[in-house]
C-alpha cells in the first residue's frame, strides 16, 4: 500500500477534482439520497482527501452506499463534485481486487437511453467487487 500522501494524489488524479475549491457549503450532503446510509458523508469526503486520510475512505461503507446518482456532482456550486471523489476511492479498492461481477458484454442489455453514460461507467466500477 502506498503512503497516505501518494494515495491522496492518486484520488485527485483519478477524479480530476481539486478539493481546495470546496467552500464547505454542504450542498452535496443536502442533495444525497443515500446520506443516512453513509458513515462518511459526501461533504466529509472532501475534507478526508484534503487531510489525506484515504485509509478511512477506502474502508468506509460510503463508497459502496453511493448510488452514483450524481446529484452532488450536478449541484456542487464550486465544481468540487464529491461524487467523483467517492468514485475514485471505489476505484482504488477495485484496482486492488479482481473479479468482474458486471461484465462489459452485459452492458448493452442494460442500456437505457436516459441513463447518463458516466453513471454506467460508475456502476460498472462499483459492481466489480
Amino acid at each position: 500500500m502506498e503512503t497516505a500522501a501518494k494515495q491522496a494524489d492518486l484520488i485527485r488524479e483519478i477524479s480530476g477534482v481539486n478539493p481546495y475549491k470546496c467552500m464547505k457549503c454542504g450542498k452535496c450532503s443536502a442533495s444525497c439520497p443515500s446520506y443516512n446510509e453513509m458513515d462518511i458523508k459526501p461533504h466529509q469526503f472532501v475534507s478526508y482527501v484534503l487531510h489525506e486520510d484515504i485509509e478511512s475512505l477506502v474502508n468506509s461503507k460510503s463508497i459502496w452506499k453511493c448510488l452514483s446518482c450524481f446529484a452532488c456532482v450536478e449541484r456542487c456550486p464550486r465544481d468540487v463534485k464529491p461524487g467523483k471523489l467517492i468514485d475514485a476511492a471505489r476505484q482504488l479498492v477495485v484496482r486492488q481486487k479482481g473479479q468482474d461481477f458486471l461484465l462489459a458484454d452485459e452492458i448493452p442489455e442494460l442500456l437505457d437511453p436516459d441513463i447518463p453514460q458516466q453513471l454506467l461507467v460508475s456502476a460498472f466500477r462499483k459492481y466489480k467487487r
Binding site: 475549491k21 467552500m23 464547505k24 457549503c25 454542504g26 450542498k27 452535496c28 450532503s29 443536502a30 442533495s31 444525497c32 446520506y35 443516512n36 458523508k41 461533504h43 446529484a71 449541484r75 456542487c76 456550486p77 464550486r78 465544481d79
Partner: protein
C-alpha cells in the same frame, strides 16, 4: 545629441531586492547620450524629485529616464518635476523595472539584465524625443447621469447642488430604481419609500436637474469635457405638459393583462400605467405591446376619459442631442435568472420566490397589499425557509463567482420582520457563511437570532420538492449537527445573486469604458480611483461597479459627484500632445487613415504643397488634435508611411526595439 540623465529607483525593496540597481547605474552610463546616472531609494519622494532637478541644473540635462514603477503610477509626477526644473515634460521617459521586471522575476542576475535592457530602450527613445506642447480643449459645464436609481439621483443632486446642470436618463417610466421596490431597509428598518421619495422629489424640483424618463442613451461621441450624446426619448403616447396625473386613464383602461414590472410580474397592470403611485414624473406611459388602440386601432378609451386631452397616439420616439463635460454610469442591477436552478423548484411552484419578490409581497403597495401570503392559494404561511447564496459564490457555469454582498443582511431583515409581524411563523435560514461587515450589521443579524428566534442552520439546501398537497419539501443539511434535514415549508425564499443591469454592456461599449467578465464596470484603480472609469470623463456610481448596499451606494454616488464637479470646475483641459501628425509631402490622399480612425479625428483638405520646388494643390490628411486620442491605428494603416504619432514615432519605436535586441 541629447544630454540624458538616468535615475534608478529602489522603490524600497520592491525593485532593489530583485534588481541590482548599482549595476544598472554602472552599465547605463555607457550608453550614448547618457551623461549622468544615479540611484535612490524613492525617486518619487520630494528628495528624489529634487535629485532630478539638481542634475538638470548642474549637468545641463535635456532628457530624463526614470527606471521605476509603471508610467501609469508616476509618469505624471516625474514630468511635473522635470517641467519645474526647466525642461519639456515630454523629454521624460519611464523604464518600468517594477511591474514588468522586479515583481515578476525571482532571479536577481536575470532581472538585473532585463532592467538594463529596459533602461537602454528608454534611453534610445529619449535620444529621439522632441519637446511637445499640449493643446487645450473647452469643458462643457453639464453632466449626464445614466440611470435614475438611488445612485443616479444622489450623484445628480450632489452635482446640481454644486451649481452645475445635470441630466438624468432613466429607461423606465419613473426614477427610483431598485430602491423604490424595497419595503424596508437594513439595519434601521426604516421604510424605503419614506427615505427615497423625498430625494426623488428633490431631484425633480431642482432647477439644475433635468430628468429624461422612458429614455435611453443611443450614441456617444467626443471625449472628456466635450461629449456629444444622443438620447432616445421613447414615445410615451402621453403629453407630459398636459397630463395632470389624475390616474383615471389607468383605472378605465380595459387591457389589464401586462405583468407589472414594478411588482416583479407577480400581478398585472393596465396598458397605460405609471409603475407605482409615487412615480416621478407622475405621467403614465402607454405600453404599445398591450394597448388595444395601438395594436388594433379600436378602443381609445383613455383618450375619451382624459380631461386634460393629454393622450396622443401619434407620438413618435424623439432623439435629443446634447453636449456634456462628464458622464456618470449608474445603471444598477437586477437579480439573476433562476432557470438554471431547477433543484429549487422556482419555476415549478408559485410559493418559491426570490427575495426581491418577497419585498413586493411585504410592501403595502404590493400584489398582496402587504399581507404575507402564499401566491398559490393565498393562505398564510406557517413555515418559511430562506436559502442563501443562490447563484452567488459559484465556480460552476451556473452562477456568479462573487459574493452578492447584500443578501445576508436583507435575509436577516426579512426573517426579523416576519417574526415580528407574525410571531407564530417559523423562519429557518440555510446559510453557508453569514457575512455582515458594516456598522451595526452583525448586531442586526444577531438580533434576528437572539431576540426574534430565527433558526439559522449552517448548511445548504440540496433540493425543494413541491408536494401534491401544495407543501414544499425542503431537503438540506445541518453541517454542525452532521444531519440531513427534511422539512416541510409553505414558502421558500431564494437569495438570488445580483448582476449588473443587462443594458450596461451596450452603454459601456458606447462609452469605451472597460467592463469585467461579470459585466461590472472597471474602476481606474481598485483602491485609489474607485469611482472613475479608466476612460477619462466617465465616472461610476452604485452597483454597476460592484455589489454594494444603499449606504455604500450613496457614499460612492457622492464621491463620483465630487470627481465630476472637479472636472466641470475647469474651463479648459490640457489635451494629450501625443497625437498623430501627417507628413504632407508623403501623403497620397488615399483615405485609409480616415477609415480606420475610431474617433473621427482625420479629415482631408486640398492644400497647396511645395514638393521640392514643385508647387501643386494636393488632397492631404489633416488631424484634429483635439479629437485624436493617440491610439496609433492610422500610423499602422498608412501605406505611404506618412502618419506618425508624436512622442511614439516610428523611428523612436524602432530605436527601442534595436536597443533591446542589441
Amino acid at each position: 545629441m541629447q544630454r540624458i540623465g538616468v535615475f534608478v529607483c529602489h522603490c524600497g525593496s520592491n525593485i532593489a531586492a530583485t534588481v541590482d540597481v548599482k549595476k544598472v547605474v554602472e552599465l547605463i552610463k555607457l550608453e550614448p547620450g547618457v551623461v549622468h546616472a544615479e540611484d535612490y531609494q524613492y525617486m518619487c519622494s520630494e528628495a528624489g524629485q529634487e535629485k532630478i532637478a539638481v542634475a538638470i541644473r548642474e549637468k545641463g540635462l535635456t532628457g530624463i529616464v526614470v527606471c521605476s514603477c509603471s508610467p501609469r503610477m508616476h509618469e505624471a509626477t516625474f514630468r511635473k518635476a522635470a517641467e519645474k526644473a526647466g525642461i519639456n515634460p515630454y523629454m521624460v521617459e519611464i523604464a518600468n523595472i517594477r511591474e514588468q521586471c522586479s515583481w515578476i522575476h525571482k532571479d536577481m542576475e536575470e532581472a538585473t539584465k532585463k532592467a538594463v535592457i529596459l533602461a537602454r530602450a528608454a534611453v534610445a527613445k529619449v535620444n529621439l524625443n522632441a519637446p511637445l506642447k499640449p493643446g487645450e480643449s473647452l469643458v462643457t459645464k453639464r453632466a449626464l447621469v445614466i440611470g435614475g436609481g438611488i445612485a443616479g439621483i444622489q450623484t445628480a443632486l450632489d452635482i446640481a447642488d454644486a451649481g452645475y446642470e445635470v441630466d438624468i436618463v432613466e429607461k423606465t417610466p419613473s426614477i427610483g430604481g431598485r430602491m423604490s421596490q424595497l419595503d424596508k431597509t437594513f439595519p434601521t428598518l426604516d421604510c424605503s419609500a419614506c427615505i427615497l421619495t423625498p430625494k426623488m422629489v428633490d431631484a425633480a424640483a431642482h432647477e439644475k436637474i433635468n430628468i429624461y424618463t422612458y429614455s435611453e442613451v443611443e450614441k456617444v461621441s467626443g471625449f472628456v469635457g466635450d461629449f456629444t450624446v444622443d438620447i432616445r426619448k421613447k414615445a410615451r403616447y402621453v403629453d407630459m405638459d398636459k397630463c395632470t396625473g389624475c390616474g383615471v386613464c389607468q383605472e378605465k383602461c380595459p387591457s389589464k393583462k401586462a405583468p407589472s414590472e414594478f411588482n416583479r410580474g407577480l400581478n398585472k397592470r393596465s396598458a397605460i400605467y405609471t409603475p407605482f403611485a409615487q412615480a416621478i414624473p407622475n405621467v403614465p406611459v402607454i405600453d404599445a405591446d398591450y394597448c388595444v388602440k395601438l395594436k388594433t386601432g379600436k378602443c381609445g378609451l383613455c383618450e375619451k376619459v382624459c380631461q386634460a386631452g393629454a393622450i396622443d397616439y401619434t407620438q413618435k420616439d424623439e432623439i435629443i442631442t446634447q453636449k456634456y463635460g462628464a458622464i456618470v454610469v449608474a445603471t444598477g442591477f437586477d437579480v439573476i435568472k433562476l432557470d438554471k436552478y431547477d433543484e429549487y423548484a422556482y419555476s415549478q411552484s408559485k410559493d418559491v420566490i426570490t427575495s426581491l419578490e418577497l419585498e413586493r409581497i411585504m410592501n403595502a403597495a404590493g400584489p398582496t397589499k402587504g399581507h404575507l401570503e402564499r401566491l398559490s392559494d393565498g393562505k398564510a404561511p406557517k413555515n418559511i425557509v430562506f436559502i442563501q447564496c443562490v447563484g452567488s459564490r459559484c465556480s460552476d457555469n451556473r452562477g456568479k463567482s462573487y459574493c452578492s454582498k447584500i443578501c445576508c443582511m436583507y435575509t436577516a431583515k426579512h426573517a426579523m420582520l416576519i417574526r415580528d409581524k407574525y410571531p407564530d411563523v417559523n423562519v429557518t435560514v440555510f446559510y453557508i457563511d453569514v457575512r455582515t461587515p458594516g456598522k451595526n450589521f452583525d448586531e442586526f443579524y444577531r438580533r434576528a437570532v437572539e431576540e426574534y428566534g430565527v433558526n439559522y442552520i449552517k448548511g445548504q439546501v440540496g433540493k425543494v420538492l413541491p408536494q401534491p398537497d401544495g407543501q414544499l419539501l425542503v431537503q438540506g443539511v445541518d453541517l454542525i449537527d452532521n444531519k440531513q434535514i427534511k422539512m416541510e415549508a409553505d414558502m421558500v425564499v431564494l437569495a438570488a445573486a445580483i448582476e449588473p443591469e443587462s443594458s450596461v454592456r451596450k452603454i459601456a461599449t458606447m462609452l469605451t469604458a472597460s467592463i469585467d467578465t461579470n459585466n461590472f464596470l472597471t474602476e481606474a484603480h481598485p483602491k485609489l480611483r474607485p469611482v472613475e472609469s479608466p476612460t477619462a470623463g466617465v465616472f461610476l456610481s452604485g452597483v454597476c461597479q460592484g455589489p454594494k448596499d444603499i449606504p455604500e451606494t450613496v457614499a460612492q454616488a457622492g464621491a463620483a459627484a465630487v470627481k465630476v464637479v472637479g472636472l466641470l470646475a475647469k474651463d479648459k483641459l490640457l489635451t494629450n500632445p501625443c497625437t498623430a501628425k501627417p507628413d504632407e509631402l508623403l501623403c497620397n490622399g488615399c483615405s485609409t487613415c480616415a477609415n480606420v480612425c475610431p474617433y473621427g479625428a482625420i479629415s482631408y483638405e486640398d492644400k497647396l504643397i511645395n514638393d521640392h520646388g514643385i508647387r501643386e494643390t494636393r488632397r492631404v490628411a489633416s488631424v484634429n488634435s483635439a479629437l485624436c486620442q493617440g491610439c496609433g491605428a492610422c500610423t499602422v494603416a498608412c501605406p505611404s508611411g506618412c502618419m506618425d504619432l508624436q512622442g511614439f514615432s516610428n523611428r523612436q519605436i524602432i530605436a527601442e526595439v534595436d536597443a533591446i535586441c542589441r
